[in-house]
């Protein structure tokens, strides 16, 4: 593959990563997975219609399949890999496991990122606010019931911790 762009740097999960020999059309999703060894973010549609590729970019939840990686320099990117430190699950992650919010798990990273983002902006969301916040994350296995339970549980635990 002929290099088609200059070397550029991306700040991902607090670290600078160098990207070289890339093709200019590569999405951020592709670069994260195939060049930066961060395969936690998943791709299921390449169109922004499923949310599996959700990452946080400059404090906003976006679909990384719709971001041209080379334009994301100077942005702060956080992926699912940044959530659990030393393998300790966040309350959201733990609740997903305990409440049955995970079946095949393909939508899970995108969902967890979207929910962590929601709760960082709105720690006590209503049922409707939760549903709207994850309306861009498709899950084909669970029918969402256990996912709603997981969010409820995470919210309760966090509220208990902060009170």
């Amino acid at each position: 593959m002929n290099p088609n762009s200059e070397i550029y740097n991306l700040r991902v999960n607090g670290k600078m990563h160098e990207v070289r020999d890339s093709w200019v059309g590569e999405s951020l999703l592709y670069v994260l997975r195939e060049r930066l060894n961060l395969p936690g973010t998943k791709g299921a549609c390449e169109q922004g219609e499923c949310g599996s590729c959700t990452v946080i970019m400059d404090g906003q939840a976006v679909c990384s399949c719709l971001v041209m990686a080379a334009t994301a320099i100077d942005s702060d990117i956080c992926t699912v890999e940044s959530l659990s430190v030393d393998g300790t699950l966040t309350e959201v992650q733990d609740a997903f496991v305990t409440e049955g919010g995970v079946q095949c798990g393909f939508c899970t990273p995108g969902l967890v990122v979207a929910i962590e983002h929601l709760l960082s902006q709105n720690p006590d969301p209503s049922e409707i606010e939760v549903k709207e916040a994850i309306s861009g994350n498709i899950c084909r296995c669970t029918g969402y019931g256990r996912i709603f339970e997981a969010v409820d549980k995470a919210v309760s635990i966090r509220k208990a911790k902060t009170s």
């Binding site: 059309g25 390449e46 169109q47 922004g48 334009t71 994850i134 861009g136």
Partner: protein, 252 residues
């Protein structure tokens, strides 16, 4: 980016506008009652705050765009650049007679949104121009937006409608999305309704008038059959949406 992912477009040189704050700005000109919205302002930021206050129909339309992730990144510039007749914000721009502000290396110009939207995915942007912003008036009166989709979230519009009542001037504007090659302004129906009732007041519209209003709106639409819906349904949908929006306009 979708086109690149799908191998339909192969860029070799790209200029990214992401970091230009000017493209994300909102400017309110209180004296002229105008709002200028940067072409790169994410939809999410239109759902609340100043834009929701001054242009509620745009806030409503913004909330229907894609998903929260899409709304974090998608913008009016995207809707204008793509110029699909199903673009969610476009009926609002049309109903408000927005202007599109363009900039090239040596010149800038403003074009009425009606002249900017030329056809299906075709606009009047010249090579070398970027869409900088769009300017919309602050109107005194009710405005609202409604969009039909087959699912309760994240849908491409099957039919949409924006209705704006200008109580100061006694006029009404109605714009339709996804029922023609570009956004349709129902000018004939607008002038017909203005001749039937006094739009400066919130008078109840009689059932007969409401019925005829909807039929006239439907007659001005030019929908097609496609894999998302049928022409007959779309015509019916805009009729219903227009009636409901007019009822809401007069019921507060």
């Amino acid at each position: 980016m979708v086109e690149i992912n799908f191998n339909h477009r192969k860029p070799t040189d790209v200029i990214a506008l992401r970091r230009l704050d000017e493209l994300k700005s909102v400017h309110i000109d209180a004296k002229k009652s105008l709002v200028t919205i940067g072409a790169g302002l994410p939809y999410q930021q239109m759902e609340h705050g100043e834009i929701a206050q001054y242009i509620p129909a745009l806030a409503q339309a913004a909330r229907t765009v894609g998903s929260p992730q899409i709304r974090s990144a998608g913008s009016i510039g995207g809707n204008l650049g793509t110029c699909s007749p199903a673009g969610d914000a476009l009926p609002v721009l049309s109903a408000l007679d927005a202007t599109v502000n363009l900039q090239s290396a040596d010149a800038s110009r403003s074009v009425s949104v009606h002249d900017f939207m030329v056809g299906v995915k075709r606009n009047a942007r010249l090579p070398g121009e970027i869409i900088v912003s769009t300017t919309l008036p602050i109107v005194s009166g009710w405005q609202g937006y409604a969009k039909v989709g087959v699912r309760n979230a994240m849908v491409i519009s099957v039919a949409s409608c924006c209705l704006v009542v200008d109580r100061t001037n006694g006029t009404i504007t109605v714009a339709l999305g996804a029922v023609g090659p570009t956004i349709i302004r129902c000018r004939e129906t607008e002038s017909w309704l203005a001749s039937q009732i006094d739009l400066k007041t919130k008078a109840t519209v009689s059932p007969n008038l409401l019925q005829e209003f909807g039929d006239r709106i439907a007659n001005e639409s030019k929908p097609i059959d496609d894999h998302r819906s049928t022409a007959a349904y779309r015509r019916h949908a805009v009729c219903v949406l227009a009636r409901r929006l007019l009822t809401r306009a007069n019921s507060q």
